[in-house]
């Protein structure tokens, strides 16, 4: 694990706020929540969509690469384990999705669906990573506390 690429621990808190707020704002904008006062396709709407999506990505980056309070070799091992699990999860998603698409009686809805699938596949890797790493850390902390 390359320690130099990790961010200071304080970035984790920023990530906890950035990721959900960015994601919710992006979903809301996609669903037309702002269409009452901002025209769809206008530069303001594009700015909201771009800012919220990049805010979400920045939040994910902070959550993934912020150091733990005491970053040591055991944490580094857990990070590697999480990467491995995330890779398996993503592979499983790819295989299942392709099988689903191949067996699906409905025609795929063109490039937009494929784009969404690919974005989801990329994001799922990081979601698996965050979930596995944080659940494992929580369990270890809880067990250590109980002992």
């Amino acid at each position: 694990m390359i320690q130099k690429v990790l961010l200071p621990h304080r970035y984790k808190k920023a990530g906890v706020w950035f990721a959900p707020i960015g994601f919710i704002t992006w979903c809301a904008a996609q669903q037309g929540a702002f269409s009452g006062w901002i025209e769809t396709g206008s530069w303001q709407m594009v700015t909201i969509l771009a800012t919220s999506f990049f805010g979400f990505l920045a939040g994910l980056y902070f959550l993934i690469f912020a150091k733990e309070k005491n970053e040591d070799e055991y944490i580094a091992k857990l990070r590697l384990q999480s990467f491995q699990t995330a890779a398996f999860g993503q592979l499983a998603f790819f295989i299942l999705s392709f099988v689903y698409i191949a067996l699906s009686v409905n025609e795929p809805a063109g490039d937009a669906q494929l784009e969404l699938f690919l974005i989801l596949a990329i994001l799922l890797f990081w979601v698996f990573y965050i979930a596995y790493f944080n659940i494992t850390m929580y369990r270890i902390r809880k067990m250590a506390h109980e002992k």
């Binding site: 733990e68 040591d72 070799e73 055991y74 944490i75």
Partner: protein, 66 residues
């Protein structure tokens, strides 16, 4: 691999947190080592041996399946 870190730590009457602070790791790491969930690196094993005043081979014992 079996280890006697917990027994040696208790003999010296120090807590997991004190041992963790002494060798600059987290308490979770000491817990993971003591419960066999994690096998430390050579550097960490040597630090543990210095801190617990025991030889590395007294702290970590190979088993048949290793």
């Amino acid at each position: 691999m079996k280890n006697n870190v917990r027994e040696e730590r208790i003999k010296l009457d120090i807590t997991q947190q004190e041992l963790a602070d002494a060798i600059s790791v987290s308490r979770q790491t000491i817990f993971a080592i003591e419960t066999g969930k994690y096998t430390p690196s050579v550097i960490l094993a040597l630090k543990l041996s210095q801190c617990l005043k025991r030889k590395v081979e007294d702290l970590f014992v190979l088993e048949k399946e290793d």
